[in-house]
Symmetry: C2
Subunit: 331 residues, 2 copies
Amino acid sequence: MASLKEVAEKAGVSVATVSRVLNDRRYINSETRLKVEKAIKQLNYRPNRVAQRLRLKDGQRKLIGLLVPDIQNPFYVDVIRGVEETAYARDHAVFVGNFAQDEGKEKMYLDIMKSESIDGLIVAPSHEKDSEVTNLVNSGLPIVCVDRGLSEVDVDVVLVDNRKGAFDAVEYLIQKGYKRIAYIGGLPQIPTTMQRKEGYEDALRKYGLPIDTDLICFGDSKHESGKKLTAELLNLPNPPQALFTGNNLITLGALETIHNRKLRIPQDIAIVGFDDMYWSISLNPPLTAVRQPGFEIGKRAAEMLFQKVKEPDRPPVKLMLKTELIKRESC
Amino acid sequence: MASLKEVAEKAGVSVATVSRVLNDRRYINSETRLKVEKAIKQLNYRPNRVAQRLRLKDGQRKLIGLLVPDIQNPFYVDVIRGVEETAYARDHAVFVGNFAQDEGKEKMYLDIMKSESIDGLIVAPSHEKDSEVTNLVNSGLPIVCVDRGLSEVDVDVVLVDNRKGAFDAVEYLIQKGYKRIAYIGGLPQIPTTMQRKEGYEDALRKYGLPIDTDLICFGDSKHESGKKLTAELLNLPNPPQALFTGNNLITLGALETIHNRKLRIPQDIAIVGFDDMYWSISLNPPLTAVRQPGFEIGKRAAEMLFQKVKEPDRPPVKLMLKTELIKRESC
DNA sequence: ATGAAAGCGCTAACAG
DNA sequence: CTGTTAGCGCTTTCAT
């Protein structure tokens, strides 16, 4: 890799001049510029981003971090894509970390992000009191939370109305005539898990249905727990008629158990899931689901982050996007 | 963020000493070490990875790059996880880039990787003659290819026996009695697309079935093209009885078209796909598919890369893993 | 309009 | 065993 110095030598100017033609487009004699540009081309010079970041100040490093809880979850894949596209449009690179729902790994990634001199961070914190992220916000690093907020500090956040989304799903189930409806949540410490539970209960309450704690259960937001909890629910003496599953991986796990038992959907058991996937129509049967705009969330979060970087003192904003109930055939 | 200098001041030693207790565990007076460790703890010091990378030589920077063609494809998500887990076990960070099947974006990412001073790169090149990646291999950067190799240079590569995997799938279809079998491939310039086509033709030939070019088509390896090409195939005057789809996104697209037309699988049209997903059992109907071990591919590639970094002159090796045909109900 | 030089935070000779 | 110092590649005053 050619360095600035080599370019300078080849062009017969100082490194400062080369740096100027690269960044600071004023005050350059046009002949000098030509010479430099020629040398750059000949050597196929590319600035060393590491040296650049070491030297540059906050907000000019062209690198942001993105920390997601589970890359196997297609929702976060959409968020990642939304962030990346927006960042690249602004010539920023994105350092993505997947902490796989492991708080230890989350901390490790946070350490890496800090020491990689990023301009800002987009993160879906493990839980609302996440002290590592809270400290980082307090340290002044521009941060935007996605999917979940933080309770101990005022921070920018982009998410959906989980309570409303869940309410809509369960209300639809009730309107379809189902009475015993179970909720299979993810990790209880994740805010969305509880918000969706609230929405579930809101709907039950509105229609005067009892809230039966036997029908409310929590797992770890992954496929396996969806599979296992569905089995437990179906083993109940008085099993539910319908399932409201708390995220897409849980939904997939639930479907697996139902299919293994040769139960018919929705005749034997109905299901509506939180999180739609573009291939939900190809599931057996086509899934009724609450769609959240993952790509849009990522995009908005990135835009918000860039704004925050530019104007660090503007007060944090909360952006709540809408969910949409996609009606298909699973209930 | 505290710096080495601040730690040194607090501990009353030189920066060199602090650096030594951090890296170079020999030759340190135990009292000195204690003082330094205390200061490190008090200041909550973390080394600045950017400064470290700028200073360090090849192979010691604890950062590798990973460039994948499509993060929306669950296969690559598995590869990413395999690479990450292996890298983290060795205390390396992974810079992941998703070029979304866009050669321009691939080049951009390659530039970023180069200028981020990585120790090595794992990449699934756009095509076999990918000159950017080829040049990078020739430049001496340790590189391991996954999923696809390079024809113009001898390089390490981890992939599966695509031809055999495709052969097994199509042979199974033939044994089930299907005679008019179509192949829906991805981008024709991707090596796996053509290898899978070879396997498809091998099977047809072995059983004396004609190779009908009307039944062989290519798209762009994404959901939409699977959807569209399936529609075209079904519109043929003499449509196929079975589909062999070239990757998981194409499969999902094909299923969508089939379901939209209210066709029954496998009675009206059978399907077997390349790439299994853990939720393939929940598709309508449970999908018969060729499984490739994505996680394992990522893991092996990372191990191979670390070896290459340690011993840059060892001759490149090709590792070919096996596929497995998972028989379910779609044919 | 251009160059010299400081310095970002760190590691690794080299000297003692 | 420890300190001093050069230098990784870059940007940015400060001079000129």
